[in-house]
């Protein structure tokens, strides 16, 4: 019988820290090629369309930024939550409520169109996201209710609330009774970065700034240190005089604010109106991004771009090769498994041991 055995490295390996994504990528190429072969497609063409074609055109790079922006912004906030052991899996709901709060300005005050409109929308969205994330935080800190359940359930509630708003009170009166708010005026629209080249808006830049700021906060400030201490050992944190329940609020509301900001960026920058569905599951995908980025906000930038690429590449492969969207999803799952598996190399050596030789194997 053959077993896999992990041996802890005395120190984490800097070599594998850098190399593991490339090893994972290499494995994906090999196995991806096999999948394409099995489907009767040219593996080289398949891999080219999946990984290179989306990066080879400027407009497509812009689309990559549009897709990656919300993922990075939400994941950066989630890093703070997960590092402090607060299991916020309701970022999707905070994204939606942030978008609702931010959209109040163009929808309820259509006449208010100044340079202040957009900044105010962004702030409102952060407030909205933070308040909505504050609910599971409050229920956890005050009533001891498990945040995995409450934050997840609140996602569904937020989706239904949005649905009710855009079909009812906030429906565009000129919209033939179809769901959706009025389209936002230019003053309430997050502008495109380089309009002549593509559609990417400043939301991507905001996401990068947010990720760097959260990284700075975690790595260089005392409060950031508190996050790590409380996450690793609540007891040690208590002795150091840190409050665990204050941290619950802090981490939830920070990540909620960032999810809310991502929500309004998407609505104002990419969609242009509040609709009944505004997220294809960004809040959930961002959980994967946060862990792929090893809970390091800078890592989430790379991870967010990678995940975004798998969506774009998947479409390119569907169109050019006529493979189905399910194959694309299988491919995506495989890539994630490889990336996660190879990350183990950072902290462990992997040995394959056969049982009979156990003891003599070194």
């Amino acid at each position: 019988m053959i077993r896999v055995e992990l041996v802890k490295r005395p120190q984490h390996s800097n070599f594998y820290m850098l190399m593991s994504p490339f090893i994972a990528f290499g494995l994906t190429l090999v196995f991806g090629a096999l999948i394409f072969l099995a489907l009767g497609k040219n593996p080289f063409t398949g891999l080219y369309f999946y990984f290179i074609d989306p990066l080879s055109q400027v407009w497509s790079l812009h689309e990559l930024a549009i897709k990656a922006g919300p993922l990075i912004m939400i994941a950066a906030g989630l890093c703070v939550c997960y590092r402090s052991n607060n299991w916020n899996i309701g970022a999707e709901g905070q994204f939606i409520v942030g978008a609702i709060f931010g959209s109040m300005i163009p929808i309820l005050m259509p006449g208010f169109q100044t340079v202040l409109t957009l900044p105010l929308m962004l702030i409102m969205a952060m407030v909205g996201g933070a308040i909505y994330a504050g609910i599971p935080a409050l229920l956890k800190a005050r009533y001891n209710a498990n945040e995995i359940l409450t934050s997840l359930m609140l996602v569904y509630v937020a989706q239904l609330l949005l649905d009710w708003l855009v079909r009812g009170v906030w429906r565009d009166p000129q919209g033939f009774a179809f769901p959706g708010s009025v389209r936002f005026p230019p003053a309430a629209t997050l502008p495109e970065m380089i309009p002549s080249q593509g559609d990417a808006h400043y939301g991507f830049l905001l996401a990068l700034v947010a990720a760097i700021a959260v990284w700075f906060f975690l790595a260089k400030t005392l409060k950031g240190f508190e996050v790590s201490v409380l996450g690793l050992s609540p007891r040690a944190g208590k002795f150091a005089g840190f409050s665990a329940s204050a941290m619950v609020f802090f981490s939830f509301m920070l990540s909620g604010a960032l999810a809310g900001l991502a929500g309004i960026s998407e609505v104002s920058g990419a969609i242009g109106q509040l609709r009944e569905v505004i997220s294809p599951g960004y809040g959930f995908a961002a959980i994967i991004v946060a862990f792929l980025g090893r809970l390091n906000p800078l890592g989430t930038i790379a991870a967010g771009l990678l995940l975004a690429l798998t969506y774009l590449g998947g479409e390119a492969a569907q169109i050019s090769l006529g493979i189905s969207d399910k194959v694309v999803r299988v491919f995506q799952g495989m890539l994630l498994f490889f990336v996660l598996g190879c990350d183990t190399l950072v902290h462990y050596k992997i040995r394959i041991v056969s049982r009979t030789a156990e003891g003599s194997a070194t």
């Binding site: 498990n146 359940l149 359930m153 009710w164 792929l292 399910k326 299988v330 996660l340 462990y348």
Partner: protein
């Protein structure tokens, strides 16, 4: 009138059964210290397998068994990654869901629009005609009975057997369990596979009992609800039974409220099951000691035996 109430109760039981089974499996997994967020993915794999095998063989029982086997095999993929390679459990579980939805769609492509084979009800003549509860107790589908047996089986296993006690100790403190010579990873492997088998069976309930047909993505988030219910139950099987039926009852109740034409926005009614679960959780969580006692302390933490 009597008939109507009996029908409503039956509808609730059918809605609650898949949630209950999937959640029971996850409960055992989490008791062993592993958090598998891939329930949705394993469930949909079970759903498509159950449908396909039943259609191919004409025998829904074989479909059910196939779903159980595929569910546990599929969970092995997750088990290998998080147990043998010590990957992050949250991310691996989420990726498993992505993979499951994709794979099931691929497998199921040719079954779209085909009516499935239904697992017929087990009826005990005579007793089934007892008013109000007859059909509920003596005339339901086999998977319903399995779900109830599973509740008590898991209860007995976790709290009355030595192996169950060991499994819980693995989830509470894997280091001291290891020091005592308990094969931590082997226990977790079996727990993960049990979880997969249950999720597979829950999926099969959808395609063999609930709605015998295959449609992509037809689990529609039920795996997530099952996950939440485990937390709701604070890792106790009986509370899980209560939670699944509460969720089922509110979901069905809101449809009846609509059919009565009460004029309440449907979005509000649709959100009631989620809100109700939160409210009840808050009420039962105030007993901090009890909750803490039942929470597996090592939940989600990887274990790598030191050598």
């Amino acid at each position: 009138m009597m008939d109507m109430w009996q029908n409503i109760i039956l509808t609730i039981a059918t809605a609650a059964t898949p949630l209950l089974i999937a959640a029971l499996g996850e409960l055992v997994v989490e008791r062993s210290g592993v958090l598998n967020l891939g329930v949705e993915g394993m469930m949909i794999m079970g759903a498509v397998t159950g449908f396909a095998v039943a259609l191919a063989t004409g025998n829904p029982w074989l479909g059910m068994i196939g779903a159980i086997i595929i569910g546990s095999l599929f969970s092995l993929l997750f088990g290998f990654l998080v147990l043998s390679i010590a990957t992050n459990q949250v991310a691996t579980g989420l990726s498993l869901t992505l993979l499951g939805i994709g794979l099931s769609g691929m497998i199921g492509e040719e079954f779209v629009g085909e009516p499935g084979v239904k697992l017929s009800n087990i009826e005990i003549p005579g007793l089934v005609d007892i008013p109000l509860v007859g059909r509920l107790l003596f005339g339901q589908d086999p998977i319903f009975y399995i779900s109830i047996a599973l509740v008590f089986g898991v209860m007995w296993f976790l709290f009355k057997t030595r192996t169950g006690l060991t499994l819980r100790s693995v989830g509470d403190n894997h280091d001291s369990a290891h020091a005592l010579g308990i094969p931590v990873l082997r226990y977790r492997y079996f727990a993960v596979m049990f979880g997969g088998a249950c999720a597979g069976l829950a999926g099969a309930h959808l395609t063999l009992v609930y709605t015998p047909q295959w449609i992509e993505n037809m689990t529609s988030g039920r795996g997530w609800i099952a996950l939440a219910l485990v937390v709701f139950a604070s890792w106790r099987p009986l509370r899980l039974l209560a939670g699944a039926y509460l969720f089922g009852a509110v979901s069905i109740g809101q449809l009846h409220a609509q059919a009565l034409g009460l004029g309440i926005p449907s979005q509000f009614l649709s959100s009631l099951p989620y809100l109700a679960t939160i409210v009840v959780l808050v009420i039962i969580s105030t007993n901090r000691r009890l909750t803490l006692m039942n929470t597996p302390a090592c939940l989600g933490k990887p274990f790598v035996p030191a050598r």
